[in-house]
Protein backbone atom coordinates (compact mmCIF):
# COMPACT_ATOMS: atom_id res chain seq x y z
CA UNK A 1 0.00 0.00 0.00
CA UNK A 2 2.69 2.45 1.04
CA UNK A 3 4.63 1.86 -2.20
CA UNK A 4 1.62 2.56 -4.34
CA UNK A 5 0.80 5.73 -2.45
CA UNK A 6 4.37 6.96 -2.49
CA UNK A 7 4.33 6.88 -6.28
CA UNK A 8 2.69 10.34 -6.26
CA UNK A 9 0.94 9.77 -9.56
CA UNK A 10 -0.10 12.45 -11.99
CA UNK A 11 -2.32 12.41 -15.05
CA UNK A 12 0.15 10.23 -16.97
CA UNK A 13 -0.55 7.38 -14.53
CA UNK A 14 -3.63 5.19 -14.54
CA UNK A 15 -4.67 2.97 -11.68
CA UNK A 16 -5.92 -0.45 -12.72
CA UNK A 17 -8.35 -2.61 -10.75
CA UNK A 18 -10.54 -4.93 -12.87
CA UNK A 19 -9.34 -3.07 -15.96
CA UNK A 20 -12.69 -3.23 -17.73
CA UNK A 21 -12.86 0.55 -18.14
CA UNK A 22 -9.12 1.27 -18.24
CA UNK A 23 -8.16 -1.27 -20.93
CA UNK A 24 -11.21 -0.44 -23.02
CA UNK A 25 -10.34 3.28 -23.04
CA UNK A 26 -6.63 2.64 -23.60
CA UNK A 27 -7.40 0.63 -26.73
CA UNK A 28 -9.64 3.45 -27.94
CA UNK A 29 -6.79 5.86 -27.15
CA UNK A 30 -9.20 7.95 -25.11
CA UNK A 31 -6.71 7.66 -22.30
CA UNK A 32 -3.00 7.30 -22.98
CA UNK A 33 -1.27 6.72 -19.66
CA UNK A 34 2.50 6.47 -19.59
CA UNK A 35 2.31 4.15 -16.64
CA UNK A 36 -0.36 1.78 -15.36
CA UNK A 37 -0.29 0.87 -11.69
CA UNK A 38 -2.03 -2.42 -10.88
CA UNK A 39 -3.81 -1.94 -7.56
CA UNK A 40 -4.87 -5.56 -7.16
CA UNK A 41 -2.26 -6.25 -4.51
CA UNK A 42 -4.65 -4.31 -2.27
CA UNK A 43 -7.41 -6.86 -2.81
CA UNK A 44 -6.29 -8.89 0.21
CA UNK A 45 -6.67 -5.90 2.50
CA UNK A 46 -9.61 -4.17 0.81
CA UNK A 47 -11.60 -6.97 -0.77
CA UNK A 48 -13.91 -7.51 2.19
CA UNK A 49 -17.69 -7.62 2.56
CA UNK A 50 -18.56 -7.10 6.22
CA UNK A 51 -21.98 -6.58 7.82
CA UNK A 52 -22.06 -6.01 11.56
CA UNK A 53 -25.76 -5.29 12.02
CA UNK A 54 -25.23 -1.53 11.92
CA UNK A 55 -23.38 -0.87 8.72
CA UNK A 56 -22.06 -2.65 5.68
CA UNK A 57 -18.39 -2.24 4.81
CA UNK A 58 -17.41 -3.04 1.26
CA UNK A 59 -13.75 -3.15 0.23
CA UNK A 60 -13.10 -1.20 -2.97
CA UNK A 61 -11.51 -4.28 -4.55
CA UNK A 62 -14.39 -6.66 -3.88
CA UNK A 63 -15.74 -7.86 -7.22
CA UNK A 64 -19.23 -6.88 -8.35
CA UNK A 65 -20.36 -10.53 -8.59
CA UNK A 66 -19.17 -11.39 -5.08
CA UNK A 67 -21.03 -8.50 -3.54
CA UNK A 68 -24.20 -9.09 -5.59
CA UNK A 69 -24.35 -12.71 -4.38
CA UNK A 70 -23.42 -12.11 -0.73
CA UNK A 71 -26.19 -13.33 1.61
CA UNK A 72 -25.96 -10.30 3.95
CA UNK A 73 -26.13 -7.88 1.04
CA UNK A 74 -29.10 -9.74 -0.45
CA UNK A 75 -30.93 -9.85 2.88
CA UNK A 76 -30.27 -6.35 4.20
CA UNK A 77 -29.50 -4.21 1.16
CA UNK A 78 -31.52 -5.48 -1.82
CA UNK A 79 -30.94 -2.23 -3.72
CA UNK A 80 -27.18 -2.82 -3.64
CA UNK A 81 -27.43 -6.45 -4.78
CA UNK A 82 -29.80 -5.52 -7.61
CA UNK A 83 -27.81 -2.51 -8.81
CA UNK A 84 -24.83 -4.82 -9.21
CA UNK A 85 -26.51 -7.88 -10.69
CA UNK A 86 -28.40 -5.81 -13.26
CA UNK A 87 -25.14 -4.27 -14.51
CA UNK A 88 -22.94 -5.38 -17.41
CA UNK A 89 -22.54 -9.16 -17.88
CA UNK A 90 -21.59 -12.10 -15.68
CA UNK A 91 -18.03 -12.06 -17.01
CA UNK A 92 -17.61 -8.32 -16.41
CA UNK A 93 -19.08 -8.63 -12.92
CA UNK A 94 -16.54 -11.35 -12.10
CA UNK A 95 -13.74 -8.99 -13.13
CA UNK A 96 -14.86 -5.51 -12.11
CA UNK A 97 -14.22 -3.99 -8.70
CA UNK A 98 -16.53 -1.73 -6.72
CA UNK A 99 -14.01 1.12 -6.70
CA UNK A 100 -13.54 0.92 -10.47
CA UNK A 101 -17.27 0.65 -10.94
CA UNK A 102 -18.11 3.96 -9.31
CA UNK A 103 -15.29 5.62 -11.28
CA UNK A 104 -16.21 4.20 -14.70
CA UNK A 105 -16.31 6.79 -17.47
CA UNK A 106 -19.24 7.95 -19.56
CA UNK A 107 -20.38 5.99 -22.62
CA UNK A 108 -20.92 9.21 -24.63
CA UNK A 109 -20.02 8.14 -28.19
CA UNK A 110 -18.17 11.39 -28.89
CA UNK A 111 -16.04 10.88 -25.79
CA UNK A 112 -15.21 7.29 -26.79
CA UNK A 113 -14.41 8.01 -30.43
CA UNK A 114 -11.30 10.13 -30.82
CA UNK A 115 -12.11 10.97 -34.45
CA UNK A 116 -14.50 13.58 -33.02
CA UNK A 117 -12.47 16.63 -32.17
CA UNK A 118 -15.02 18.36 -29.93
CA UNK A 119 -15.28 16.77 -26.50
CA UNK A 120 -14.56 18.88 -23.43
CA UNK A 121 -14.24 15.81 -21.25
CA UNK A 122 -11.57 14.24 -23.44
CA UNK A 123 -9.88 17.42 -24.65
CA UNK A 124 -10.61 20.33 -22.28
CA UNK A 125 -11.82 23.42 -24.15
CA UNK A 126 -12.55 21.62 -27.43
CA UNK A 127 -16.35 21.96 -27.29
CA UNK A 128 -19.10 19.38 -27.06
CA UNK A 129 -20.17 17.46 -30.15
CA UNK A 130 -23.16 15.95 -28.35
CA UNK A 131 -24.97 19.30 -27.91
CA UNK A 132 -25.72 19.41 -31.64
CA UNK A 133 -25.27 15.71 -32.27
CA UNK A 134 -26.96 12.41 -31.45
CA UNK A 135 -27.84 12.90 -27.81
CA UNK A 136 -30.60 10.38 -27.20
CA UNK A 137 -28.60 8.65 -24.49
CA UNK A 138 -27.45 11.85 -22.81
CA UNK A 139 -28.49 13.45 -19.54
CA UNK A 140 -31.40 15.72 -18.71
CA UNK A 141 -30.34 16.54 -15.14
CA UNK A 142 -27.13 18.20 -13.99
CA UNK A 143 -26.00 19.16 -17.48
CA UNK A 144 -24.10 22.28 -18.48
CA UNK A 145 -23.31 24.06 -21.74
CA UNK A 146 -19.98 22.25 -21.65
CA UNK A 147 -21.04 18.63 -21.23
CA UNK A 148 -24.27 16.62 -21.15
CA UNK A 149 -22.76 13.14 -20.78
CA UNK A 150 -24.67 10.60 -18.71
CA UNK A 151 -23.08 8.95 -15.70
CA UNK A 152 -23.41 5.32 -16.83
CA UNK A 153 -23.08 3.21 -13.66
CA UNK A 154 -25.77 1.56 -11.54
CA UNK A 155 -24.18 0.75 -8.16
CA UNK A 156 -23.46 4.42 -7.43
CA UNK A 157 -27.17 5.18 -7.24
CA UNK A 158 -27.61 2.57 -4.51
CA UNK A 159 -24.71 4.04 -2.51
CA UNK A 160 -26.02 7.56 -2.95
CA UNK A 161 -29.58 6.76 -1.91
CA UNK A 162 -28.32 4.99 1.23
CA UNK A 163 -26.05 7.89 2.31
CA UNK A 164 -22.89 5.81 2.02
CA UNK A 165 -19.47 7.24 2.60
CA UNK A 166 -16.15 6.53 0.93
CA UNK A 167 -12.81 5.93 2.59
CA UNK A 168 -9.84 7.01 0.53
CA UNK A 169 -6.09 6.85 1.07
CA UNK A 170 -3.54 9.02 -0.66
CA UNK A 171 -0.08 10.50 -0.55
CA UNK A 172 -1.32 13.01 2.02
CA UNK A 173 -3.08 10.50 4.26
CA UNK A 174 -6.49 8.97 4.62
CA UNK A 175 -9.88 10.61 4.78
CA UNK A 176 -13.55 9.84 4.55
CA UNK A 177 -16.00 11.70 2.35
CA UNK A 178 -19.73 11.35 1.79
CA UNK A 179 -20.40 9.37 -1.38
CA UNK A 180 -22.58 12.32 -2.43
CA UNK A 181 -19.49 14.50 -2.78
CA UNK A 182 -17.37 12.00 -4.75
CA UNK A 183 -18.66 12.95 -8.20
CA UNK A 184 -18.63 16.47 -9.67
CA UNK A 185 -21.21 17.86 -12.03
CA UNK A 186 -19.62 18.92 -15.33
CA UNK A 187 -20.06 22.70 -14.92
CA UNK A 188 -17.34 24.47 -16.86
CA UNK A 189 -14.69 21.75 -16.30
CA UNK A 190 -16.26 18.42 -17.30
CA UNK A 191 -12.93 16.62 -17.48
CA UNK A 192 -12.73 16.81 -13.69
CA UNK A 193 -15.18 14.11 -12.70
CA UNK A 194 -14.47 13.50 -9.04
CA UNK A 195 -13.25 15.23 -5.93
CA UNK A 196 -10.48 12.71 -5.37
CA UNK A 197 -7.09 14.34 -5.01
CA UNK A 198 -4.18 13.32 -7.20
CA UNK A 199 -3.02 9.84 -6.23
CA UNK A 200 -5.94 9.08 -3.94
CA UNK A 201 -7.25 5.53 -3.94
CA UNK A 202 -10.70 4.43 -2.80
CA UNK A 203 -10.27 1.75 -0.17
CA UNK A 204 -13.75 1.16 1.21
CA UNK A 205 -17.43 2.06 1.06
CA UNK A 206 -19.37 2.27 4.32
CA UNK A 207 -23.14 1.96 4.04
CA UNK A 208 -25.23 2.70 7.12
CA UNK A 209 -28.45 0.82 7.70
CA UNK A 210 -31.81 2.19 8.68
CA UNK A 211 -35.47 1.31 8.70
CA UNK A 212 -35.46 2.00 4.95
CA UNK A 213 -32.61 -0.26 3.82
CA UNK A 214 -34.59 -3.50 3.74
CA UNK A 215 -37.46 -2.00 1.73
CA UNK A 216 -35.20 -0.97 -1.09
CA UNK A 217 -34.80 -1.85 -4.74
CA UNK A 218 -33.18 -0.88 -8.01
CA UNK A 219 -35.27 -0.60 -11.14
CA UNK A 220 -33.38 -0.33 -14.42
CA UNK A 221 -34.92 0.40 -17.81
CA UNK A 222 -32.78 -0.53 -20.82
CA UNK A 223 -32.96 -0.70 -24.60
CA UNK A 224 -32.47 -4.46 -24.40
CA UNK A 225 -33.34 -6.77 -21.55
CA UNK A 226 -29.84 -7.46 -20.30
CA UNK A 227 -26.15 -6.50 -20.77
CA UNK A 228 -26.99 -2.87 -21.40
CA UNK A 229 -26.63 0.47 -19.65
CA UNK A 230 -29.63 2.19 -18.12
CA UNK A 231 -31.74 4.56 -20.17
CA UNK A 232 -33.40 5.44 -16.88
CA UNK A 233 -33.11 3.87 -13.45
CA UNK A 234 -34.12 4.48 -9.87
CA UNK A 235 -32.67 3.33 -6.57
CA UNK A 236 -35.29 3.71 -3.85
CA UNK A 237 -35.35 2.92 -0.13
CA UNK A 238 -38.51 3.55 1.81
CA UNK A 239 -39.53 3.43 5.46
CA UNK A 240 -43.28 3.13 5.84
CA UNK A 241 -45.55 3.59 8.83
CA UNK A 242 -48.55 1.62 7.61
CA UNK A 243 -48.81 3.11 4.15
CA UNK A 244 -47.48 6.52 5.15
CA UNK A 245 -43.91 7.41 4.19
CA UNK A 246 -41.73 8.13 7.19
CA UNK A 247 -38.63 8.45 5.10
CA UNK A 248 -37.76 7.87 1.47
CA UNK A 249 -34.39 7.94 -0.25
CA UNK A 250 -34.12 8.18 -4.00
CA UNK A 251 -31.29 8.28 -6.51
CA UNK A 252 -31.70 8.33 -10.27
CA UNK A 253 -29.48 6.85 -12.96
CA UNK A 254 -29.33 7.00 -16.76
CA UNK A 255 -30.77 10.51 -16.80
CA UNK A 256 -28.12 12.63 -15.08
CA UNK A 257 -24.49 13.64 -15.45
CA UNK A 258 -23.66 12.28 -11.99
CA UNK A 259 -25.37 9.82 -9.65
CA UNK A 260 -28.43 11.95 -8.87
CA UNK A 261 -30.09 12.28 -5.48
CA UNK A 262 -33.74 13.36 -5.83
CA UNK A 263 -34.19 15.31 -2.59
CA UNK A 264 -37.25 17.20 -3.87
CA UNK A 265 -39.00 13.92 -4.58
CA UNK A 266 -38.09 12.62 -1.15
CA UNK A 267 -39.60 15.75 0.46
CA UNK A 268 -42.77 15.35 -1.60
CA UNK A 269 -43.23 11.83 -0.20
CA UNK A 270 -42.52 12.44 3.47
CA UNK A 271 -45.60 12.14 5.68
CA UNK A 272 -47.87 11.12 2.78
CA UNK A 273 -49.44 7.78 1.93
CA UNK A 274 -47.49 6.07 -0.85
CA UNK A 275 -50.22 6.07 -3.50
CA UNK A 276 -49.74 6.23 -7.26
CA UNK A 277 -50.83 9.88 -7.20
CA UNK A 278 -48.34 10.85 -4.49
CA UNK A 279 -45.58 8.92 -6.30
CA UNK A 280 -46.37 10.80 -9.51
CA UNK A 281 -46.18 14.15 -7.71
CA UNK A 282 -42.80 13.16 -6.28
CA UNK A 283 -41.55 12.05 -9.70
CA UNK A 284 -42.61 15.37 -11.24
CA UNK A 285 -40.66 17.17 -8.51
CA UNK A 286 -37.58 15.08 -9.31
CA UNK A 287 -37.61 16.22 -12.94
CA UNK A 288 -38.86 19.80 -12.44
CA UNK A 289 -35.46 21.20 -13.43
CA UNK A 290 -34.80 18.79 -16.31
CA UNK A 291 -33.26 20.31 -19.46
CA UNK A 292 -33.84 17.90 -22.34
CA UNK A 293 -31.77 18.00 -25.54
CA UNK A 294 -32.93 17.54 -29.12
CA UNK A 295 -33.18 13.70 -28.93
CA UNK A 296 -33.79 12.85 -25.30
CA UNK A 297 -36.95 14.64 -24.18
CA UNK A 298 -38.49 11.17 -23.69
CA UNK A 299 -36.20 10.69 -20.70
CA UNK A 300 -38.19 13.19 -18.65
CA UNK A 301 -41.32 11.09 -19.02
CA UNK A 302 -39.50 7.75 -18.84
CA UNK A 303 -37.50 8.83 -15.79
CA UNK A 304 -40.70 9.78 -14.00
CA UNK A 305 -42.50 6.53 -14.78
CA UNK A 306 -39.42 4.57 -13.74
CA UNK A 307 -39.42 6.31 -10.37
CA UNK A 308 -43.18 5.86 -9.88
CA UNK A 309 -42.91 2.14 -10.64
CA UNK A 310 -39.92 1.73 -8.32
CA UNK A 311 -41.72 3.47 -5.45
CA UNK A 312 -44.91 1.44 -5.85
CA UNK A 313 -42.92 -1.78 -6.08
CA UNK A 314 -41.05 -0.87 -2.91
CA UNK A 315 -44.33 -0.13 -1.15
CA UNK A 316 -45.61 -3.59 -2.02
CA UNK A 317 -42.54 -5.50 -0.81
CA UNK A 318 -43.46 -8.03 1.86
CA UNK A 319 -41.28 -9.23 4.67
CA UNK A 320 -41.32 -12.22 6.96
CA UNK A 321 -41.86 -10.97 10.49
Amino acid sequence: MRDILAAEPDSSVAFLAGGTTVLDLMKLEVIRPERVIDLNALRGEYGHIRWDGVSLRLGAFARMAEVAAHPDVLAHYPVIAQSLSLAASAQLRNMASLGGNVLQRTRCAYFRDTSWSACNKRVPGSGCAALEGANRSHAVLGTSDHCIATYPGDFAQALLALDASVNVAGPRGSRRLPFASLHRRPGTIPHLETNLLSGEIITEFVVPSGAWTRRSLYLKIRDRQSYEFAVASAAVAVDLDGDVVRNARIALGGVATVPWRALEAEAALRGRPLTAEVARTAARAAFADATPQSHNAFKVELGQSTLVRALLQAASMEFQP
Binding site: L23, K27, D38, A90, M95
Partner: protein, 154 residues
Protein backbone atom coordinates in the same frame (compact mmCIF):
# COMPACT_ATOMS: atom_id res chain seq x y z
CA UNK B 1 6.66 -13.69 -18.35
CA UNK B 2 5.11 -17.08 -17.73
CA UNK B 3 1.48 -17.98 -18.21
CA UNK B 4 -0.31 -21.10 -16.98
CA UNK B 5 -2.69 -22.21 -19.71
CA UNK B 6 -4.61 -25.49 -19.78
CA UNK B 7 -2.23 -27.04 -17.30
CA UNK B 8 0.99 -26.14 -19.14
CA UNK B 9 3.43 -23.36 -18.44
CA UNK B 10 4.30 -21.04 -21.30
CA UNK B 11 7.23 -18.66 -21.19
CA UNK B 12 6.54 -15.74 -23.51
CA UNK B 13 8.11 -12.39 -24.16
CA UNK B 14 5.40 -9.76 -24.31
CA UNK B 15 4.90 -6.04 -24.25
CA UNK B 16 3.36 -5.14 -20.88
CA UNK B 17 0.23 -3.84 -22.65
CA UNK B 18 -0.55 -7.18 -24.32
CA UNK B 19 -3.96 -8.54 -23.45
CA UNK B 20 -4.41 -12.13 -22.40
CA UNK B 21 -6.43 -12.69 -25.59
CA UNK B 22 -3.58 -11.55 -27.84
CA UNK B 23 -1.07 -13.53 -25.78
CA UNK B 24 -3.14 -16.69 -26.25
CA UNK B 25 -3.84 -16.19 -29.93
CA UNK B 26 -0.71 -14.52 -31.27
CA UNK B 27 2.01 -15.78 -28.96
CA UNK B 28 0.94 -19.16 -27.59
CA UNK B 29 -0.89 -20.23 -30.74
CA UNK B 30 -4.19 -21.04 -29.06
CA UNK B 31 -6.61 -19.45 -31.51
CA UNK B 32 -9.75 -21.07 -30.10
CA UNK B 33 -10.55 -17.96 -28.03
CA UNK B 34 -12.08 -15.51 -30.48
CA UNK B 35 -11.79 -11.76 -30.83
CA UNK B 36 -15.20 -10.31 -31.61
CA UNK B 37 -15.19 -6.73 -30.40
CA UNK B 38 -12.00 -6.45 -28.30
CA UNK B 39 -13.97 -4.12 -25.96
CA UNK B 40 -15.92 -6.31 -23.55
CA UNK B 41 -19.13 -6.15 -25.56
CA UNK B 42 -19.54 -9.64 -27.05
CA UNK B 43 -18.10 -12.42 -24.86
CA UNK B 44 -16.32 -14.27 -27.73
CA UNK B 45 -13.03 -14.08 -25.82
CA UNK B 46 -14.39 -15.61 -22.59
CA UNK B 47 -11.94 -17.90 -20.78
CA UNK B 48 -11.86 -19.35 -17.28
CA UNK B 49 -9.32 -17.73 -14.99
CA UNK B 50 -8.93 -19.69 -11.77
CA UNK B 51 -12.32 -21.16 -12.63
CA UNK B 52 -14.04 -17.80 -13.00
CA UNK B 53 -15.36 -16.77 -16.43
CA UNK B 54 -13.69 -13.56 -17.52
CA UNK B 55 -13.01 -11.62 -20.71
CA UNK B 56 -9.49 -12.15 -22.02
CA UNK B 57 -9.73 -9.03 -24.22
CA UNK B 58 -9.96 -6.79 -21.12
CA UNK B 59 -7.36 -8.69 -19.08
CA UNK B 60 -3.65 -7.93 -19.24
CA UNK B 61 -1.46 -10.97 -19.75
CA UNK B 62 0.84 -9.55 -17.08
CA UNK B 63 -1.94 -9.64 -14.50
CA UNK B 64 -2.81 -13.27 -15.31
CA UNK B 65 0.62 -14.66 -14.47
CA UNK B 66 -0.06 -16.39 -11.17
CA UNK B 67 -3.43 -17.63 -12.35
CA UNK B 68 -4.66 -20.77 -14.13
CA UNK B 69 -6.19 -20.00 -17.51
CA UNK B 70 -8.52 -22.47 -19.25
CA UNK B 71 -9.40 -22.04 -22.92
CA UNK B 72 -11.59 -24.10 -25.23
CA UNK B 73 -8.51 -26.16 -26.18
CA UNK B 74 -8.17 -27.29 -22.56
CA UNK B 75 -11.64 -28.72 -22.06
CA UNK B 76 -11.51 -32.13 -23.72
CA UNK B 77 -9.84 -34.91 -21.78
CA UNK B 78 -6.42 -36.10 -23.02
CA UNK B 79 -8.13 -39.25 -24.41
CA UNK B 80 -10.25 -37.00 -26.62
CA UNK B 81 -13.49 -37.24 -24.67
CA UNK B 82 -15.33 -33.95 -24.94
CA UNK B 83 -16.39 -31.90 -21.92
CA UNK B 84 -20.14 -32.40 -21.28
CA UNK B 85 -20.73 -28.80 -22.31
CA UNK B 86 -18.98 -29.31 -25.66
CA UNK B 87 -20.95 -32.49 -26.26
CA UNK B 88 -24.21 -30.73 -25.33
CA UNK B 89 -23.54 -27.95 -27.85
CA UNK B 90 -23.10 -30.60 -30.54
CA UNK B 91 -26.16 -32.59 -29.43
CA UNK B 92 -28.36 -29.48 -29.53
CA UNK B 93 -26.86 -27.92 -32.62
CA UNK B 94 -26.18 -24.84 -30.50
CA UNK B 95 -24.28 -22.92 -33.18
CA UNK B 96 -24.36 -21.94 -36.81
CA UNK B 97 -21.16 -20.19 -37.84
CA UNK B 98 -19.44 -21.20 -34.58
CA UNK B 99 -17.58 -17.95 -34.03
CA UNK B 100 -19.16 -17.24 -30.65
CA UNK B 101 -19.12 -20.89 -29.59
CA UNK B 102 -15.81 -21.20 -27.67
CA UNK B 103 -16.83 -18.17 -25.60
CA UNK B 104 -20.34 -19.53 -25.15
CA UNK B 105 -19.03 -22.88 -23.92
CA UNK B 106 -16.58 -21.42 -21.42
CA UNK B 107 -19.19 -18.96 -20.23
CA UNK B 108 -21.77 -21.73 -19.91
CA UNK B 109 -19.41 -23.77 -17.75
CA UNK B 110 -18.99 -20.72 -15.53
CA UNK B 111 -22.74 -20.18 -15.50
CA UNK B 112 -23.36 -23.74 -14.28
CA UNK B 113 -20.61 -23.71 -11.67
CA UNK B 114 -21.89 -20.38 -10.30
CA UNK B 115 -25.30 -22.00 -9.85
CA UNK B 116 -27.02 -19.67 -12.31
CA UNK B 117 -28.40 -22.34 -14.63
CA UNK B 118 -31.52 -23.39 -12.71
CA UNK B 119 -34.12 -22.13 -15.18
CA UNK B 120 -34.17 -21.15 -18.86
CA UNK B 121 -34.81 -17.54 -17.84
CA UNK B 122 -31.86 -17.64 -15.45
CA UNK B 123 -29.63 -19.09 -18.15
CA UNK B 124 -30.68 -16.39 -20.61
CA UNK B 125 -29.93 -13.65 -18.07
CA UNK B 126 -26.61 -15.08 -16.91
CA UNK B 127 -25.49 -15.90 -20.46
CA UNK B 128 -26.39 -12.43 -21.76
CA UNK B 129 -22.71 -11.49 -21.88
CA UNK B 130 -22.29 -13.81 -24.88
CA UNK B 131 -23.72 -12.41 -28.06
CA UNK B 132 -24.51 -14.77 -30.94
CA UNK B 133 -24.87 -13.08 -34.32
CA UNK B 134 -26.54 -16.22 -35.67
CA UNK B 135 -29.08 -16.12 -32.80
CA UNK B 136 -28.64 -19.77 -31.83
CA UNK B 137 -29.93 -18.78 -28.39
CA UNK B 138 -32.76 -21.33 -27.92
CA UNK B 139 -30.40 -24.21 -28.69
CA UNK B 140 -27.72 -22.76 -26.45
CA UNK B 141 -30.17 -22.68 -23.54
CA UNK B 142 -31.11 -26.32 -24.21
CA UNK B 143 -27.45 -27.32 -24.35
CA UNK B 144 -26.66 -25.59 -21.06
CA UNK B 145 -29.54 -27.43 -19.38
CA UNK B 146 -28.36 -30.81 -20.63
CA UNK B 147 -24.75 -30.20 -19.57
CA UNK B 148 -25.86 -28.79 -16.22
CA UNK B 149 -27.47 -32.09 -15.31
CA UNK B 150 -24.47 -34.10 -16.50
CA UNK B 151 -22.00 -31.83 -14.69
CA UNK B 152 -24.00 -32.23 -11.48
CA UNK B 153 -23.92 -36.00 -11.96
CA UNK B 154 -20.12 -35.80 -11.80
Amino acid sequence: MTLRVNGSTHAVELDARTTLLDALREHIGLTGSKKGCDHGQCGACTVLIDGSRELSCLTLAVSSQQREVTTIEGLARPDGDLHPMQQAFIDHDAFQCGYCTPGQILSAIGCVSEGHADTPAGIREYMSGNICRCAAYPNIVAAVMQARDQMAGG
